[in-house]
Symmetry: C2
Subunit: 357 residues, 2 copies
DNA sequence: TTGAAAGCGCTAACAT
DNA sequence: ATGTTAGCGCTTTCAA
């Protein structure tokens, strides 16, 4: 059936600005102006346009708008694993700040695959994300750092921004926003706390010299030991991933090996959860026999029993700050910020006991 | 300084397809074809183009592409709260499937504000999201349902899809994809399990008749009681939100009130975590004195002590299925699916004891 | 205060 | 196998 000439409506298809204009009896420019709300339009005209907008159930086409204005109102958020322990809190901060600044969030996971991370950043470039936040530690090989630095420069040239959240800078001359927190200081403080309780044989679970996060935590741990003239027994350094399963198995093996230790420093609360379970199943009391501490202070720490003594990391603030800085950089080529961490004393660590003494 | 005529490169701005074409000595159409990879291009030409692509660090402009093809490669994901207990797992499923189908994910939170939810869905319409997944329970007032139904129809008309994940249908004639799980059946089974252990006075924490999720769980609970001819004591129905703080406080008050109960059915694992803590602090043993069970089977359930007996919900599969169905609906106007739930027996529930007997 | 029209960067239909 | 070109829907000068 032939359309009437006056009927600009396209069967079923969403309304365009042109149809709204026709229905309100104005030009598309006028509709665009009432949409923007930032340009003077006669009150009567505005009313008519707004009615047409409503009647046609109009929504702008973000692609068309972005194409013209080169402004996407989007930020991107790249993370290893959505299920990761602290992802949710950093994400919350990112989303909160992005919303506050009128942006929408794109999310992607990389599953610890550096190649995928690089690829995903390019996907975000295609979408013209105004900031690309990369969260969490990484294995920083020289080639990887170089590729990331190149992406940082590309993003910068495009008016966007690479944001490293909880990960070290790519180099002094790289245009980037870095929002870190003090891994080494927290580990140093925590180790010192254990030392002050009399523990000298402290197992470290989850240490990985290649991953930035744990490497830094490892440095703090060694520095604390060294400051008291204590050796760092390699047998007590158990490398592994950030899962409760690893914590569980590693602790079992530690117990089975009859290793000599009075405290466990889990590089992550998640690992600590596994360690606690293994200890409980083995009938080892915490903290009477063995002290256990973690790192991150995720909400889970409060649900464990005993409640976990750990290092607090301001995850949510990290996320908020990442977006806030990136979107308001006012020409600053680089922005770097390191947030503090601190020991939260709860129930899982106590004075060194007489276990195996 | 004047540009050389041969220099199409724009100082600092990202390269466009036009520049690539010029550098490779071909037309933009040819570049577009090698980009798409789905159209025959002479090998030699392709090589030249690919080199130009690389040398100019080219990435397509997704907006421009979407504008032409009306195809955004984006799905949207709307959730009450990123920190919510099971968000992460549904999100994981959604992201996983979206990635598998070559889509990017937009994420938004609503903080239990229905108005914000409606607004956010329109934001997703602007972005031409191919599916808009709304996760979690809601307070379904008639006006709200009507507005959502209208949005479902708008999305449908635009070739997109409203997906309700863990939330009931908006009506038989509404174009939608619904992926639910069995709240009532799970609650019925769990209550029966407690009943079979001899518990007849079961407190329900977090019940809210207005929210869809807990209302359904409440129905299952009552049905189980009724099936044994047992009454449902309103004093044991404690309304509240899904937080461990609520679980903690509600349990303390229950204890203080000297209410008569031998088991606690927390409507959510999160609430159960709080209940467990309150019980532990009050010196009440679980499960010897009081049994505690939850609902959701989030990973936390395994970290609690005792390990939590709960109802398993296939969160990740829910998310995956939501996207899979929505993106492959092949003209189906409505798609509805309800997944099963089942009791997972762990340590926190046991035979009714002699507490206060 | 309003309208006309020129792009924004890309894809796809149509030519060659 | 490759080039030409007409839009996609919107914002924004520039005119009136």
């Amino acid at each position: 059936m032939p359309k009437r000439a006056s009927d600009l409506t396209r069967e079923g298809k969403p309304a365009r600005i042109k149809e709204v204009a026709a229905r309100a009896g104005v030009s598309t420019a006028t509709v665009s102006r009432v949409l923007g709300g930032t340009y003077p339009v006669a009150a009567a005209t505005r009313i008519r346009v707004q009615r047409a907008l409503r009647e046609l159930d109009y929504v702008v086409n973000a692609s068309a708008r972005a194409l013209g204005t080169a402004n996407s109102n989007t930020v991107a958020f790249i993370v290893n694993d959505i299920i990761g322990p602290f992802f949710a809190h950093i994400a919350h901060g990112v989303e909160q700040q992005a919303t506050a600044e009128g942006r929408l969030c794109l999310v992607c996971t990389t599953h610890n695959d550096p190649a995928r991370e690089l690829a995903v950043i390019n996907l975000m470039r295609e979408r013209k994300a105004e900031a690309v936040v990369v969260v969490g530690g990484a294995v920083q090989t020289p080639e990887y750092v170089q590729r990331m630095a190149k992406l940082a420069r590309s993003l910068d040239a495009e008016g966007s921004r690479l944001v490293l959240c909880g990960r070290p800078s790519l180099g002094p001359d790289v245009p980037e926003t870095v929002v870190e927190y003090d891994n080494e200081g927290g580990a140093f403080a925590m180790t010192n706390y254990l030392l002050s309780l009399g523990h000298e044989r402290i197992a470290m679970l989850g240490f990985d010299a290649k991953a930035t996060t744990t490497a830094e935590r490892g440095v703090g741990y060694r520095r604390a030991l060294a400051s008291r003239g204590l050796p760092c027994d390699p047998a007590l350094l158990v490398p592994g991933v950030f899962t409760r399963e690893f914590g569980y198995e590693a602790t079992r093996e530690l117990l089975a090996s009859k290793a000599d230790f009075t405290a466990i420093f889990a590089v992550t609360d998640m690992i600590a959860a596994g360690a606690l379970k293994a200890l409980r199943k083995a009938g080892v009391r915490v903290p009477e026999d063995v002290s256990v501490v973690g790192y991150d202070d995720i909400p889970l720490a409060l649900d464990l029993c005993p409640e976990l003594t750990t290092v607090h990391v301001p995850h949510e603030e990290l996320g908020r700050t990442a977006i806030r800085l990136a979107l308001n950089r006012a020409g600053n080529p680089v922005q770097r910020l390191r947030m503090g961490t601190h020991v939260v004393v709860r129930e899982s660590a106590g004075p060194v006991g007489s276990w195996r003494a």
